[in-house]
Amino acid sequence: MATPTRLTRTLIRSSLRPLSKPITARHYRAHDSPPPAPFTPAESAILSAALSHVPANGFTSTALRLGARDAGYLDASTNLFPRGAFDLVNYHLVTQRLALKDAVQFPAGERIGVGKKVRTLALARLRANEEVGVVGRWGEALALMVQPTLVPASLAELARLADEMWFLAGDTAVDSSWYTKRASLATVYSATEVFMTQDQSAGFKDTERFLDARLEDVMRVGGFLGGVGEWVGYTGHSVVNVLRSKGVRI
């Protein structure tokens, strides 16, 4: 399995690539077949126009209709989006996730820890909500995302975001920590996102502090669980050996 190292090398190379050159394919998972564009041109035109109406109108069908008009479509054309306002939320999530690899570039020379990189990426993704101007309306988006019929789609997108962050951070673990890392980052990220909707501090300093505290928690819990595991393993071994020394056939 030389794939992880190759992936890392590709990642470093791709992060060195000048930004002006268009990136035609995602450099992981499918080297030979680029993934299909997530939205058709018509969908992108309407949704991107609609997103500019979100600060004023929120994540609503009104924003969607105004966007459709801006893009030269009719009010009726919003039938292109069967999930209504959630498709608008989804568009923001997907485009920002895909933009992450261009938004954050790690200098190739110095060695930055994977944990640091993950922090930078999570913060960059949170800042994107602010830059697009949807942070004031993000509560509405979260309310849409937790609707029972939409929960699976929202969780899938959250999982993809966590995966993207660990991948961009250069994590190459292929053991069970692959899952725990993604799960814990997804938890931390979504908690921070909820915190951010209520954050009144200048430049979202409190959000940054909150994120750091949660990441530290994960580290501490991870260390504690690791310690517990080690203790259980050691004690188990000792018990077995003691029993063996007493003549029990184990």
Binding site: T40, P41, A42, A45, N57, S61, T62, R65, L66, A68, R69, A71, G72, Y73, L74, D75, A76, S77, T78, N79, L80, F81, P82
Partner: protein, 320 residues
């Protein structure tokens, strides 16, 4: 292991018997004489005539229109009672959902567009006004839109007469918001190009002789960005539910038709035409071939696929 095998066998037997029933059924009607008299199919291909299906029969294309007309003229008066009995009232839920999802009408407070007040809706095969009245109600009460107009088009004058009669009990009678025209969906000559916001056809396209021609005509009359929406019977997804559904549709529906409407043949045709209608994916592909963009996977199943809503959006040229 044994249990699962026997289950599988039982299921297969059920399916086989349902299929056999479906094959046998057309010959089991009690009042075949009139139908045989009226509907002796001409030998296909005679005089180079193209043929199409009328239920399970094969008839010349020129004849299908007349035959469908006979069916709907005979059911027009008992249309609603029969729909309620056949679908156990669920057709009303489907129609409500269909209209609510399309969300017709523009709220004048948020739309900020003085150019085109309201939507221009064309309801094809909507003779009795079922969809039209719901559209107008939704636009007026939910979107506060007093300008949205519906043109109800139907090929059958008897169904239109039924719709006109019902319109009298709605607030839209004798207003410019509701209009009835007698028209064939394959030749909508009285409707100008690019003039319609929303084209709907509910439980109608199944009866069209040439569905592709109707789709092309829909594409012509819609404005760029306009929506084609179709509510129609479709294919049930689960094999077990399908077996039950086939029993109901081939066994009960013609019988209800005979008892309530006094017309078995029309309802025999109804269930056969449902059986003949293309599946969800096939119909989606037909809509795409006509030039429409389809949202998501292209359709939404209702009640396990007994009915389905298909939508298509006419693309805007040059905006891409």
């Amino acid at each position: 292991m044994n249990v699962s095998t026997s289950k599988l066998l039982a299921r297969r037997q059920l399916l086989l018997s349902a299929r056999a029933a479906a094959r046998r059924e057309p010959y089991r009607c009690f009042s075949c004489s009139i139908r045989h008299e009226q509907q002796t199919p001409p030998p296909p291909g005679e005089n180079g005539n193209r043929t199409t299906h009328f239920g399970f029969e094969t008839v010349a294309e020129a004849l299908k229109e007349k035959k469908v007309a006979t069916v709907f003229s005979s059911v027009a008066s008992s249309y609603d009672t029969m729909n309620d009995l056949m679908s156990l009232g669920i057709h009303r839920l489907w129609k409500d959902h269909f209209v609510r999802n399309l969300n017709p009408g523009s709220n004048p407070l948020t739309s900020r567009s003085p150019i085109s007040p309201g939507w221009n809706i064309l309801d094809i095969a909507g003779g009795t006004g079922d969809i039209a009245f719901r559209m107008l109600d939704h636009a007026s009460t939910l979107n506060h839109d007093a300008h949205t107009r519906v043109t109800v088009a139907d090929i059958n004058p008897d169904m239109l007469a039924e719709g006109r009669k019902r319109a009298l009990s709605t607030p839209y009678a004798r207003t410019p918001r509701l209009d009835f025209v007698e028209a064939n969906a394959e030749h909508l000559d009285m409707i100008p190009d690019a003039s319609i916001d929303l084209y709907t056809v509910a439980f109608g396209i199944r009866n069209f002789t040439d569905k592709d021609a109707a789709l092309r005509e829909a594409f012509r009359v819609l404005k760029p960005g306009g929506v084609f929406a179709c509510l129609e019977f479709s294919k049930v997804n689960s094999a077990l539910f399908d077996a039950v559904y086939k029993r109901w549709s081939f066994g009960a529906i013609p019988l209800i038709g005979q008892l309530v409407a006094g017309d078995r043949d029309s309802y025999q045709y109804l269930v056969e035409s449902i059986e003949k209608f293309p599946s969800q994916t096939e119909f989606r592909d037909m809509i795409e071939r006509a030039g429409f963009l389809v949202p998501g996977k292209g359709w939404e199943d209702l009640t396990g696929g007994i009915a389905a809503i298909h939508k298509g959006v006419k693309p805007v040229e040059g905006m891409i």
